[in-house]
């Protein structure tokens, strides 16, 4: 049985408060055995409404749980999505204050798409995604969980805005015409040491597949990907836990680099 509107509002508000006060809550799936993925998306929308009411503005969307590595690590076997707001964006190389804004952050190296045309699913093809892409950029998504100890099932992470924390766009933006998004390599370093390498194919076979999946999935909810939006297409390397004092750097072959310092 679906959750009631009252329950959805309750959990959305609870997660919003957890986000604002940097505390965690018990997994929703522990408390609501029947919670569906649809319920979870409604909870995430409630959480988003609260952020918008607080003056945040949506500037894009993220796709999560796209790589085999991340799926295995979380034991979740389908992608999900969340919203990106203006307050989540940090400049390349910036300091991210864990003690002020994050709980248990993990860094993901990704490729971001900046759209120049709306994408309205369902029925969006991969060619349409490429045609609608102004440019792609290397980026870091710093995921974080408002759920206790990252004990998430798919419904928990979906409700929690797909475990999105903060993000950084890198140093270069290029046309997707100039890059093979499937084979472009990624090298991730933490504190000067290479911790993982990957390639575009790690995200559902291609980052383009991820954006098409999002356009088509959101299309069924009547939501479009909009011109000007930033779309984070999913991690190409395993999640890397980070703490204050850490520095992470990612480079993408043929594209560029992004970095973040945690304080």
């Amino acid at each position: 049985m679906a959750l009631t509107d009252q329950q959805i509002q309750h959990y959305g508000d609870e997660l919003y408060q957890a986000l604002r006060h940097r505390r965690t809550v018990a997994p929703l799936t522990e408390r609501e055995a029947d919670i569906s993925i649809d319920d979870a998306y409604h909870i995430s929308l409630r959480m988003l409404e609260q952020r918008l009411a607080d003056g945040e503005r949506v500037i894009g969307k993220k796709i999560g749980v796209t790589s085999k590595a991340v799926q295995n690590m979380l034991n979740v076997h389908q992608p999900d999505f969340g919203y990106l707001t203006d307050r989540m964006l940090f400049a390349n190389g910036d300091e991210m204050p864990i003690s002020e804004q994050l709980i248990a952050p993990r860094a993901e190296g990704e490729i971001a798409f900046i759209l120049k045309k709306d994408l309205v699913g369902p029925g969006i093809t991969h060619a349409e995604v490429l045609a609608a892409t102004e440019c792609v950029m290397p980026c870091f998504e710093i995921v974080d969980s408002r759920i206790r100890d990252w004990q998430i099932r798919i419904q928990d992470t979906v409700a929690d805005n797909a475990s999105c924390g903060l993000f950084v766009l890198g140093d270069r933006a290029i046309s997707p015409r100039q890059l093979d998004l499937v084979t472009c390599g990624m090298v991730m370093e933490k504190n000067g040491q290479i911790c993982a390498t990957g390639a575009g194919a790690a995200a559902l076979g291609s980052p383009v597949n991820c954006v098409a999946w999002l356009a088509n999935t959101l299309g069924r909810f009547g939501i479009k990907l909009e011109a000007g939006e930033v779309i984070l297409s999913g991690s190409l390397v395993p999640l890397q836990p980070v703490a204050a004092g850490d520095h992470v750097h990612v480079s993408v072959g043929g594209l560029g680099t992004a970095s973040v310092r945690f304080v």
Binding site: G198, A199, G253
Partner: protein, 262 residues
């Protein structure tokens, strides 16, 4: 050195026979626990000499255990090298007979073709890039002659670093134009993506591996001759293959390499 010349020749014959009439054997350190690297490379060189005496050409070298993934998989922490014989090569889009192998695995690599000799000690990345004619994508088929791929470093060196077959692509890359550190490689089996990575998985940069090879060879008074093909080490973890499997490896900017196992 702990082995006599007689023991070295006997081990070379034993290991080469395991390769030529494919069957697995116990790792050589079970019988010779005091063997060291000098012994092991002496055995490898004796295997090489046996092949050359039969008219086989040595066309290049390979580096092994160069990536973190590989070192973890094998439980070791130092690279090793081996030689490549002419008959190890199979054509792109060709067939590889598993009946000639024991328990083959494939891995994606960047191969270097040299235009100048490289001699250590002191060989560095700049010297390697300057001496590189071109790079090409490659799939190496490794096939340890040891039971269940279980070995230590000394045993694997004696076994020519598990070398058995290799396939190179046909898109030549100019190292001056390529970002080998960030070059992505995607390895597919039967249409499914199995492994992927970037050049940095090989000791931080594939050219570092070639420089290390020149420096390791120098310790034995040898060099990398001009015109050598060198497999720089696996960018991905190795995946097992069997008859019926089809492998495709795609490399950023360098096309693809494919083969079928029959």
């Amino acid at each position: 050195m702990s082995l006599t010349q007689e023991q070295i020749l006997a081990l070379a014959e034993h290991l080469e026979n395991a390769e030529l009439a494919p069957h697995d054997v116990k790792k050589v350190t079970d019988d010779y626990p005091d063997m060291d690297f000098h012994d092991a490379y002496a055995v490898q060189e004796a295997i090489r000499a046996r092949k050359e005496a039969r008219g086989t050409r040595i066309v290049g070298m390979k580096m092994g255990l160069t990536s973190r993934a590989k070192m973890q998989q094998m439980g070791v922490d130092t690279p090793v090298y081996g030689f490549l014989a002419d008959y190890f090569e199979r054509p792109d889009s060709g067939e590889i007979k598993v009946s000639e192998l024991i328990h083959p695995k494939v891995e994606a690599e960047i191969a270097f073709v040299t235009k100048k000799a490289l001699r250590g000690p002191g060989c560095h990345v700049g010297a390697v890039l300057a001496a590189t004619d071109f790079v090409i994508p490659a799939v190496e088929i490794i096939d340890s002659r040891y039971e269940n791929f279980r070995f230590d470093l000394v045993s694997v060196v004696a076994d020519n670093a598990s070398s058995s077959r290799f396939v190179t692509g046909t898109t030549m890359g100019d190292p001056a134009q390529l970002d080998l550190r960030n070059m992505g490689m995607v390895l597919e089996k039967n249409g499914q993506i199995m492994e992927l990575g970037a050049g940095a998985a090989v000791l931080g940069h594939p050219a570092t591996s070639i420089a290390m090879l020149a420096n390791m060879l120098a310790e034995r008074g040898q060099e990398i001759p001009a015109g050598s093909l060198i497999l720089s080490g696996a960018v991905t973890a190795a995946i097992p293959v069997e008859a019926g499997d089809s492998i495709v490896m795609r490399a950023q900017g360098l096309g693809s390499v494919s083969m079928r196992f029959v």
